[in-house]
């Protein structure tokens, strides 16, 4: 069948625009859906079968490429330490440093467009895990997600803060407005979150993914804010980044210890999945970073031509 033929011919699923966009569309049915598309497609058995084929192929590729530490005991502190070690800030080139020091206004726009595919629905993929957890890890995830969703204030929801940033620089903040310009590698990052989030068997991976995501957020967000300030933007644009400097310094502690660490201690057989989820987050983040920096170093757009 067509799906199997496409998957068989794709050399690299992570950078295949057709594969990632198809997967993104199938997942999006579980979030906001699409105007004019019947909601019943969400649970259409044939479509779920196609999605499963893509997920299985992607899983195979990621398992082969993502290095996971294999000597971490299922202990709260040991898992937290391993996650902090995996995510320790490195000295090499980074998107955050480029944004802080060099990015043009046009490159800042591109940066926001890449980010928008996740940040306009920030926190949603990890929320799927809440009913699949119990006890301390569940309470920890709820504590983080409540803060992501503004602590009860719709105006402080992180997705809303990001929309304000987009509007502040003159971009369209409607979800999906730029979807056809987003390259596969960026879509892969958000698709993996949906894949981990929507499958109970990956509850360890989504917990580890969130921990790695939070642990690589505070310091880069300060630099992102610096880049927008350097280009003359005010607090309406930088509030999103400033908020994340403070919020994610809280979240990374809760995610590392009370969510991922406590989950490993509670369910030791999930330890490898927790670390796989974290390592996959970092692997894909690194690929996106390389894509952005290589385009910008060459003086070309990092987006697809739409």
């Amino acid at each position: 069948m067509l799906t199997q033929r496409v998957l068989g011919q794709a050399a690299d699923l992570v950078t295949d625009d057709d594969v990632q966009l198809a997967l993104y569309v199938m997942y999006e049915l579980f979030y906001g859906g699409f105007d004019g598309v019947d909601d019943d497609w969400e649970w259409d058995p044939e479509l779920l079968g196609v999605r499963s084929l893509v997920e299985t192929a992607l899983e195979k590729q990621l398992l082969a490429r993502v290095a996971v530490p294999d000597d971490v005991p299922p202990d709260r502190a040991a898992v937290a330490d391993a996650l902090f070690a995996l995510t320790a800030p490195g000295p090499g080139p980074s998107v955050a440093r480029f944004v802080a020091k060099k990015a043009s206004r046009e490159q800042l726009h591109e940066f926001l467009i890449h980010r928008s595919v996740y940040q306009l629905k920030e926190a949603d993929p990890h929320t799927w895990a809440i009913p699949r957890l119990t006890g301390q890890p569940k309470a920890a995830l709820v504590e983080i997600q409540a803060d992501e969703y503004g602590g009860g204030d719709p105006g402080r929801m992180h997705c809303e803060l990001f929309a304000r940033t987009m509007r502040g620089v003159g971009l369209d903040a409607e979800y999906g407005a730029y979807i056809e310009q987003i390259p596969a590698v960026t879509l892969a990052g958000v698709n993996v979150m949906s894949w981990f989030g929507l499958h109970r068997r990956w509850r360890g991976a989504i917990a580890g993914h969130l921990a790695a995501f939070e642990m690589t957020s505070s310091l880069p967000n300060r630099l992102y804010g610096d880049g927008f300030r350097r280009q003359g933007f005010g607090q309406d644009v930088t509030l999103y980044f400033d908020e994340h400097v403070e919020a994610d310094a809280v979240h990374e502690q809760i995610a590392g210890r009370d969510l991922a660490g406590a989950l490993a201690q509670q369910q030791p057989d999930l330890t490898h999945d927790i670390l796989f989820g974290a390592a996959t987050c970092l692997y894909l983040d690194d690929l996106v970073g390389r894509h952005l920096l290589s385009a910008w170093d060459a003086g070309v757009s990092s987006l697809r031509e739409s």
Binding site: A80, E143, G151, L239, E246, A249, V250, E252
Partner: protein, 76 residues
């Protein structure tokens, strides 16, 4: 930065305070706590759980900004 009443603070008031020193990291503060600056003025608190800087290098003191990781701070 604020919009209307502070919902995080309101809910936090219902919880007794807890203070958690994170290994090699900040101090997490939850519950009914008012943070005052040197002049005794309350420091605006935007979230129910806050992380206070313990390494001295944060750029957003009294809150943590993750800099402890960049400078290799240890609490042991």
């Amino acid at each position: 930065m604020t919009s209307g009443p502070d919902p995080a603070r309101r809910r936090a008031d219902r919880r007794p305070p807890t203070i958690v020193p994170c290994p090699d990291g900040p101090i997490l503060v939850r519950g009914d706590v008012t943070i005052l600056d040197d002049d005794g003025r309350p420091v605006p608190r935007q979230r129910a759980t806050v992380a206070l800087c313990r390494c001295g290098a944060s750029t957003i003191k009294p809150f943590c900004d993750g800099t402890h990781k960049a400078i290799g701070f240890t609490s042991a």
